[in-house]
Structure formats: structure tokens, C-alpha cells
């Protein structure tokens, strides 16, 4: 007990000093410092309350002569009052100071002063006179309109931050409150429309640029901060869902596939850079696939020695085929989910094509299947078998063709070669039959 009270005294001095520096938290520095310390301060307040509630008013003043000052300073700092339960605990502490039966004028004055502080905490804010008159004139009290006002202010702030964030430059309009990445993620986690708007903005950018080379797509994606934010599974899922919808709506447009592939690349990079704390199980990102498949696909094809390519591709093919052809796994969403997962990782399809074209030997069925699946996910077994046969013919006939693509380009064949994607190419709408054939 004695130790506790010594600790409390030390803390008391510390916080008294802090509060004096913060004052009403009207500068950026004091605001930031307050925000960094609010949680700890609340803990201190709790401890204070525990100590104060055992004493009567006079004992409190004896023990902590400057307690009034401390509490008042805290009450004049809106950042403290707005945090969690701090306002409640402050009120409790103030109540401990009230004298039930004031014996002298000093005690009466204290009571009166406490009443003033309590009123201040709960009183209506002084807006422009006109606004106050308006709301009163309509018969509304602050308790009626604070929720609506807060909602409007936050929405307005959120859209301003989004604009600033996406535009990437300081608008001269107003004092810019820039948020660190963690805060943007917080916003997106709490307010789905903000995240959706960020994605839509990205889509708009991609659509509106006349010629999108992969490098530019990568720039747009990185600027949006979405890959980084997507390290958080909830955000990844929403983003992925929007990609899924876009893909379905455009009937598998190559541009969308390219975007997904670039995004996934950036996402994997961000994931690797993210601190250990953020590591979530693969299943949280890809709930519809087996973890083993996800793990294999997430590997960087570059990390695999050339000699092992065939093996790895066969493995992928097996796993995918299993997922696709196994009808018992009802929850997995069928072939589309597997295909959707696969197209995230463009490097593999490219590797398959390269293997097929470069090796002189008879093409392994597994690879043929993989390629056929990539380009025809909806094909039935027979159709796919026919396609695979066609590939065999093609590779036999054009065995000496140059392999396609640069190393990391995720988009297969012709498109990869010149690294540009025309904005509208109806001929390339469906990912069926590569140009090689």
C-alpha cells in the first residue's frame, strides 16, 4: 500500500507536468504528445480514483493539494476528454472532491468550482452564434445533433484524407492532417466505404490512362497503398472481392488479370517486409483454398532453381486439379475459385508456357492441364482434353519458337513481350488460346 502511494505521488508529479505543457492541446506537437499518452493517463486516472474514493473531501485536499488543478487541466484538454472512459473517470474523481456539508466559505467555493468544471465537461459547445440559434430555434439540444454532426465531420475528413492521400501532393487548401499508414489502415478497417472508394479510384486511374504499361500499373498500385494495407487479411479480402467482381463483370478482361497479378506481386513484397506481428495464417487470406496450394503458389518462381521447375509445376497442377475435379468440397466455390487463385500469380502460367515450348521432350500432361485450365477454366473435361491435344500439336509444330516474355512479366504471351496493354482490346477480352497457336 505504502509503495503504491509513493508510486502514485511520482506519477502525479509526472502527469501534472505533462498536463501543464499540453495545456489545451492547441498545437500539433501537444496534440501528438497527448495522443501518445492518453492510454497511460487513463490508467493513472483509474489509480487516482481508487485512492480518492476511500477518502473524504478534506483528506483528499490534504493529501493532494493541487488535485483541483490537475483535474481541471485534464478537463480542458479535449483529446483527453474524448478518449475512451477518461471523461467518466475524471468526473468520478471530481465527485470525490465535493463536500457534502461545506463548513466554511472555502469548501463552498470548492463545491461551486467543481460544479463549474462538471458543467463545462457536459455543456454545449460554443459554435457560431447563428448555428446555436438555429439548432435551439428548431428545438434541438446538443445531445440530439452531436451524433449527426460527428458523422458528417468524420466523413468529410475521411474524404479529404483520401483525396490528399491519393493525389499524393499537398493541396494548399487547408492545414493538412497527414496520417501514418497505420491510421489509414485503421480507417479502412472501420469504414468500408473509404476502402471501396480507394479501390474504385484505382480502377478509375487504370481505366482513364490511355496506355497502361505494367510499370505504370505497378506505380498506380503502389501509390494507392493498398498492397501494404492488404497485409491485413480483412482488407485483403475486400480488395480481392472487388477484383473478383471486376473480373466477372468484364468476363475475364486481360487488363484486370494483369492488375491482379501486379497487385499480388506488390502484396507479397509488402507481406515480406511487414513485421512479424502482422503475420496471419494463409487461410485468413485465402479461405477457399487448401493451405498447401496457397503456400506453393505464393513462392517466388525466381527462387526456384530451373531444374526444379517441372517438379514444382507438376505439384501445382496436381493440387489444382484435385481442387477442381473433386466435387465433394462444396464450400470451395468450384473451379472458378481455384482459377481465380491461380491467376493471381502470373509467373506460373508463364513458366508453364516456357517449359512447354523449350523442352523438346513430350509435354507432360500435368503442364498441359495447367495451361488449358488457365485459359479455359470453365471447360468441361472433354473440352479441356481437346485443348490439351491442341497444345501438344502446337508445341510439336512450333517447337523452335522463342519463349515468350520477360522474366517477371505476369501477363502471358504477346502482351508480355512489348509490355504494353492497350486500353481497349476486345480481341483480347477472353483468356482463351494464346497467340502462340
Amino acid at each position: 500500500m505504502a509503495q503504491d502511494s509513493v508510486d502514485l505521488s511520482c506519477d502525479y508529479q509526472f502527469w501534472m507536468q505533462k498536463l501543464s505543457v499540453w495545456d489545451q492541446a492547441s498545437t500539433l506537437e501537444t496534440q501528438q504528445d497527448t495522443c501518445l499518452h492518453v492510454a497511460q493517463f487513463q490508467e493513472f486516472l483509474r489509480k487516482m480514483y481508487e485512492a480518492l474514493k476511500e477518502m473524504d473531501s478534506n483528506t483528499v485536499i490534504e493529501r493532494f493539494p493541487t488535485i483541483g488543478q490537475l483535474l481541471a487541466k485534464a478537463c480542458w484538454n479535449p483529446f483527453i476528454l474524448a478518449y475512451d472512459e477518461s471523461q467518466k473517470i475524471l468526473i468520478w474523481c471530481l465527485c470525490c472532491l465535493i463536500n457534502k456539508e461545506p463548513q466554511n466559505s472555502g469548501q463552498s467555493k470548492l463545491n461551486s468550482w467543481i460544479q463549474g468544471v462538471l458543467s463545462h465537461i457536459l455543456s454545449a459547445l460554443r459554435f457560431d452564434k447563428e448555428v446555436a440559434l438555429f439548432t435551439q430555434g428548431l428545438g434541438y439540444a446538443p445531445i440530439d445533433y452531436y451524433p449527426g454532426l460527428l458523422k458528417n465531420m468524420v466523413l468529410s475528413l475521411a474524404s479529404e484524407l483520401r483525396e490528399n492521400h491519393l493525389n499524393g501532393f499537398n493541396t494548399q487548401r487547408r492545414k493538412k492532417i497527414s496520417l501514418p499508414m497505420s491510421a489509414v489502415v485503421c480507417l479502412w478497417l472501420r469504414h468500408l466505404p473509404s476502402l471501396e472508394k480507394a479501390m474504385l479510384h484505382l480502377f478509375e486511374k487504370l481505366i482513364s490512362s490511355e496506355r497502361n504499361c505494367l510499370r505504370r500499373i505497378e506505380c498506380f498500385i503502389k501509390d494507392s497503398s493498398l498492397p501494404q494495407a492488404a497485409c491485413h487479411p480483412a482488407i485483403f479480402r475486400v480488395v480481392d472481392e472487388m477484383f473478383r467482381c471486376a473480373l466477372l463483370e468484364t468476363d475475364g478482361a486481360l487488363e484486370i488479370i494483369a492488375t491482379i497479378q501486379v497487385f499480388t506481386q506488390c502484396f507479397v513484397e509488402a507481406l515480406e517486409k511487414a513485421s512479424k506481428q502482422l503475420r496471419f495464417a494463409l487461410k485468413t487470406y485465402f479461405p477457399y483454398t487448401s493451405p498447401s496450394l496457397a503456400m506453393v503458389l505464393l513462392q517466388d518462381p525466381q527462387d526456384i532453381p530451373r531444374g526444379h521447375w517441372l517438379q514444382t509445376l507438376k505439384h501445382i497442377s496436381e493440387l489444382l486439379r484435385e481442387a477442381v475435379e473433386d466435387q465433394t468440397h462444396g464450400s470451395c466455390g468450384g473451379p472458378f475459385e481455384s482459377w481465380f487463385l491461380f491467376i493471381h500469380f502470373g509467373g506460373w502460367a508463364e513458366m508453364v508456357a516456357e517449359q512447354l515450348l523449350m523442352s523438346a521432350a513430350e509435354p507432360p500432361t500435368a503442364l498441359l492441364w495447367l495451361l488449358a485450365f488457365y485459359y479455359g477454366p470453365r471447360d468441361g473435361r472433354q473440352q479441356r482434353a481437346q485443348t490439351m491435344m491442341a497444345y501438344v500439336m502446337a508445341t510439336c509444330r512450333h517447337g523452335d519458337l522463342q519463349p515468350c516474355g520477360q522474366r517477371r512479366s505476369p501477363v502471358p504471351t504477346e502482351v508480355a513481350r512489348d509490355e504494353t496493354l492497350p486500353a481497349h482490346s476486345p480481341a483480347k477480352r477472353r483468356p482463351f488460346f494464346p497467340k502462340v497457336i
Binding site: 492547441s26 447563428e130 430555434g137 428545438g139 460527428l150
Partner: protein, 374 residues
């Protein structure tokens, strides 16, 4: 039902009294009873919130009371204003008592104990009141934080959060008042016009007219009973504006050109009257040969620049408004004698100014010099 209404009346009186010096006669027991009463009424609110007839009856009673007390813009409501207020009548009572210096020491001590019993729930209702008050304090601070740090008035009024909030409140109140009787809203608006700061009121009306139609949102935290459709509220406002020429003239005069264009585009019923006003204003200007400009006849007339601004803004609106405006201008020009030379008819000059402005704009944008309509 009648006893319920009487309870309501009595509590409303109590609430009114709680801000007066009369509370100096209250002892702790009185305070406790008052709070219990408030709790009971809050319970009523919860119970009958969705019950149409009872709720309507209660609401009507409260509205009548409010009107009789000289409400509608006369300052803070002494008693309860509406059904929604019933939902936090305990908070309202608590706040008034807390702020009232006339309350005796013993009574105040007891009040504070009741309001802030501390951690550890004793009974459900007490905790709710403590939580409500804590939440109020928290929200107040949040608004304070956002308002006084980093908030600037949005130049687009319809996107300004304070304006939007006021507009939402106006629409909500209009809807309530409208449910009572058909011609109530108009009278309500007129009394507001007489009592409230007019400039702000006009801005709020404009913003209210631009609110997007609300879709049914399941997470609406306010009462689901009130179906907030700005559509109805807008209609009432438009109707009222059209029926009050003095107000509408002030409306068109006080608000910025861009805002008025948006409002008129959205509510086509307003455009003929707006155009009529603009033509009236235009006709008041005369040409000063020496200075070579159009000047006001009297000091309160609308100057050329402002007139031009408004027409320019209207010409940037999407059709059909844009076409209507141009047609109106052409008609006026024709009526004036169809001059092509400047200095003779203000309409000619306006059209010339608008065209050259448009021409310059197209040049700047690198578009062809072809003029389609302007």
C-alpha cells in the same frame, strides 16, 4: 392514455422548472423523485417508440405545448419539444440541474451521486444514465477536437459538415411538423424566418435542397420510426420559397451563384422565378456612357458583375436549365430591340460577355473555336 398525457405535461413543467431558481427549495428526495420520473418517461419512450397511435398522440401533445410556449425559434425549449427528446429526458433534466447554481448543497450532492455512481453497475437504469452522460461528454470533446483543430469551412457549402448537419435537422423537423397537419410546415418555416438569423437560415435551406435522397440504411442509429426522405422536405421548402417572394428574393440575393445554379438545376420549379428575378435586376441597371459600363440606379441594386456571374454560372449548368436561360436572354434581347451593338441593351451585353467568356475558355482548353449554343 389520458394519464400518460398528463404525466407528460407534468414532466414538461418539471423540466422547465429545473432551470429556474425554484430548485433552491428542492431537497435530495425531490431530486431523486424527479430523476425517477424521468426514468419512467424514458421507459415510455422505449416502449411506445414504434407504436404509431400512442406515439403520434404524445408527439402532438408535445408540439402543442412547444408552440404555446412560443417555440419555433424563440430560444431553448423550456419543456420537451418532441418524442425524440423524451428518449433522453433524463439527460436533459440532469444537465439542467447540474448547471443550476440555485440548487442547494445537499440536493446537489445527492444529484451527483445519482448521476455518477461510479464503476460497478447497481441497477440497469442508473448505469444507462451515467453512460449517456459520459457519451455526451465524449462526443462533445470529439466535436470540439474536430471543429477547432483542422476544420475549415468548406467553400462548397453543401459539403460543409456544419451546414449539412443543420440541413438534416431542418428536414427532420419539417417532416415531423408535416405529419401533424398539412399546412403546418409552411407556417413553421415562416415563423423560423421571422425569428432566426436569416442569412444562415437561407444557406441551410439551400443545402437542404441539395441533400441526396436517402436510401434505407439499416444501421441508422436514430429512431427507425422517422422515415427520413429529403424528397418530401425538399418539396415543402420549394413550395414555401415559391409562396414567399420576399424570402425567395433574399435567397437569390444572398447565396453564391454556383450554389443557386445547383439548387435550380435540382429543382426546376424554381428556375422561372429565379430567371424572373434576374431579369428584374437586369432592368434596373442603366448604361453609363462616360464610364462605358452598366451601373446601378440605386445603391441596393444588383451590380453588373454579380448579374454576369449568375448568368455565367447558369450557362454552365447542364441542359435543360442552360437552354432555358439562354432562351430567356435571347427573348429579352429581342424585346429590347435585338441590338448587336453594346451599350444599348443589357441583354445584348450580357450575351456578348457570356459568349466571349465561353470562347476564351474553349481556347484555354484547346478546343475548337466552334460555338454551339453560346
Amino acid at each position: 392514455m389520458e394519464s400518460l398525457l398528463q404525466h407528460l405535461d407534468r414532466f414538461s413543467e418539471l423540466l422547465a422548472v429545473s432551470s429556474t431558481t425554484y430548485v433552491s427549495t428542492w431537497d435530495p428526495a425531490t431530486v431523486r423523485r424527479a430523476l425517477q420520473w424521468a426514468r419512467y418517461l424514458r421507459h415510455i419512450h422505449r416502449r411506445f417508440g414504434r407504436h404509431g397511435p400512442i406515439r403520434t398522440a404524445l408527439e402532438r401533445r408535445l408540439h402543442n405545448q412547444w408552440r404555446q410556449e412560443g417555440g419555433f425559434g424563440r430560444g431553448p425549449v423550456p419543456g420537451l419539444a418532441n418524442f425524440q427528446a423524451l428518449g433522453h429526458c433524463d439527460v436533459l433534466l440532469s444537465l439542467r440541474l447540474l448547471e443550476n447554481r440555485a440548487l442547494g448543497d445537499a440536493a446537489r450532492y445527492h444529484l451527483v451521486q445519482q448521476l455518477f455512481p461510479g464503476p460497478g453497475v447497481r441497477d440497469a437504469d442508473e448505469e444507462t444514465l451515467q453512460e449517456s452522460l459520459a457519451r455526451l461528454a465524449r462526443r462533445r470533446s470529439a466535436v470540439h477536437m474536430l471543429r477547432f483543430n483542422g476544420y475549415r469551412e468548406n467553400p462548397n457549402l453543401q459539403e460543409d459538415s456544419l451546414m449539412k448537419t443543420q440541413a438534416e435537422l431542418l428536414l427532420e423537423r419539417l417532416q415531423e411538423v408535416g405529419k401533424a397537419e398539412a399546412e403546418r410546415p409552411a407556417r413553421f418555416l415562416s415563423s423560423l424566418w421571422e425569428r432566426l438569423p436569416q442569412n444562415n437560415f437561407l444557406k441551410v435551406i439551400a443545402v437542404a435542397l441539395l441533400q441526396p435522397p436517402l436510401s434505407r440504411r439499416p444501421q441508422e442509429e436514430l429512431e427507425p420510426g422517422i422515415h427520413k426522405s429529403p424528397g418530401e422536405g425538399s418539396q415543402v421548402l420549394v413550395h414555401w420559397l415559391l409562396g414567399n417572394s420576399e424570402v425567395f428574393a433574399a435567397f437569390c440575393r444572398a447565396l453564391p451563384a454556383g450554389l443557386l445554379t445547383l439548387v435550380t438545376s435540382r429543382h426546376p420549379a424554381l428556375s422561372p422565378v429565379y430567371l424572373g428575378l434576374l431579369t428584374d435586376w437586369g432592368q434596373r441597371l442603366h448604361y453609363d456612357l462616360q464610364k462605358g459600363i452598366w451601373v446601378e440606379t440605386e445603391s441596393q441594386d444588383v451590380p453588373w458583375e454579380e448579374l454576369h456571374n449568375r448568368f455565367q454560372s447558369l450557362c454552365q449548368a447542364p441542359p435543360p436549365l442552360k437552354d432555358k436561360v439562354l432562351t430567356a436572354l435571347e427573348t429579352c434581347k429581342a424585346q429590347d430591340g435585338d441590338f448587336e451593338v453594346p451599350g444599348l441593351s443589357i441583354w445584348t451585353d450580357l450575351l456578348l460577355a457570356l459568349r466571349s467568356g465561353a470562347f476564351r475558355k474553349r481556347q484555354v482548353l484547346g478546343l475548337s473555336a466552334g460555338l454551339s449554343s453560346v
